[in-house]
């Protein structure tokens, strides 16, 4: 079952990547993000992280952001859930 954070994160990615509704439902843990999607450049990632902060009510420190975090949907979701539960 998808967690609330999972659903919110899929919605945020839908908005940032301009996906059709439901398209993000196909994301799996292994779906590649940063480095796999050419449109997801540093400015877009900055927007994505800011949007995650607003909608998930978390604060992301810049030193927490590394390449691995954004490599796949699974790693981003694990980070968001850990952050949300810790806040």
């Amino acid at each position: 079952m998808n967690s609330e954070i999972d659903l919110l994160l899929r919605k945020i990615l839908t908005d940032v990547l301009g996906l059709r509704e439901g398209q993000a439902d196909d994301f799996t843990s292994d779906t590649g993000l940063f480095g796999h999607l050419p449109e997801l450049d540093s400015m877009a990632v900055a927007g994505l992280l800011t949007e995650m902060e607003d909608r998930l009510d978390i604060i992301i420190e810049d030193d927490e952001i590394d390449g691995e975090l954004l490599e796949s949907y699974g790693s981003l979701l694990a980070f968001a859930e850990a952050k949300h539960n810790g806040s």
Binding site: E39, T50, I65
Partner: protein, 226 residues
């Protein structure tokens, strides 16, 4: 839609010719559109023009001027200040005989006090800067360099800084980080919830959305006709 130029006042005196897009048929309601800033300006430009097309159809003249140092402007960005931009917007409003002003996102920071204004999804200066600094940190990290918010802000305040390709002076950063959209009886905010869907400034790539353009133009046209 007509591309034209307008004489933008320079801070030291004189003027520079800046570009503007206009739908001008000499009608009663004349809307000056203050564009979103920096990266968001690119992402929202097409959508801004789509809204203007609809307003033209609804009987509203619209003008979208370039800010000095932005878009097609030949002025250097690194000598601009938010105050200069405000002066430029106020002059453009007078030059085009605007009766109303629409600020889009960061453009809401520059709308003139004397005219009735609509602020679409306003954002404050500090939020814009934070996001640009974050993008720079991410890009630096990809290149194997570690930068921090605090170090970059210190550098920005001391000597100016280049953020996501935009070279900004220390004076600019100093003024810009404390700017918030003006509130008051002649300012009406149009939130994204009124327009529906997700804001196009979130998009990684510039895009347009017909439904959102229809909705925003309708809100504006109805408000101007009232």
């Amino acid at each position: 839609m007509t591309p034209l130029s307008w004489p933008c006042p320079l801070p030291g005196g004189g003027t520079s010719e800046e570009y503007a897009l206009a739908f001008d048929r000499g009608r009663t309601n004349r809307l000056l559109v203050v564009p979103a800033l920096f990266d968001e300006a690119n992402r929202l430009r097409r959508q801004s023009v789509e809204v203007m097309r609809r307003l033209d159809g609804a009987g509203v003249d619209c003008f979208l001027p370039d800010l000095p140092g932005c878009n097609e402007s030949l002025q250097p960005l690194e000598v601009q200040s938010p105050e200069d931009w405000r002066d430029a917007v106020a002059f453009a409003a007078m030059h085009f005989g605007a009766t109303h002003v629409l600020g889009i996102r960061g453009g809401c920071l520059l709308t003139p006090e004397k005219l009735p204004c609509r602020h679409y999804a306003p954002i404050n200066g500090a939020s814009i800067l934070r996001q640009m600094i974050r993008a720079r940190i991410l890009a630096a990290r990809e290149a194997g360099t570690v930068e921090t918010q605090q170090d970059l802000m210190d550098q920005a305040m001391a000597e100016g800084i280049e953020l996501t390709g935009y070279r900004l002076s220390a004076e600019f950063i100093d003024q810009f980080q404390s700017l918030a959209p003006r509130e008051g009886p002649n300012v009406q905010e149009i939130g994204q919830d009124m327009v529906g869907g997700a804001g196009l400034w979130l998009r990684a790539e510039p895009d347009e959305n017909r439904q959102q353009a229809d909705a925003l133009a309708a809100i504006l046209a109805i408000g101007l006709a009232a």
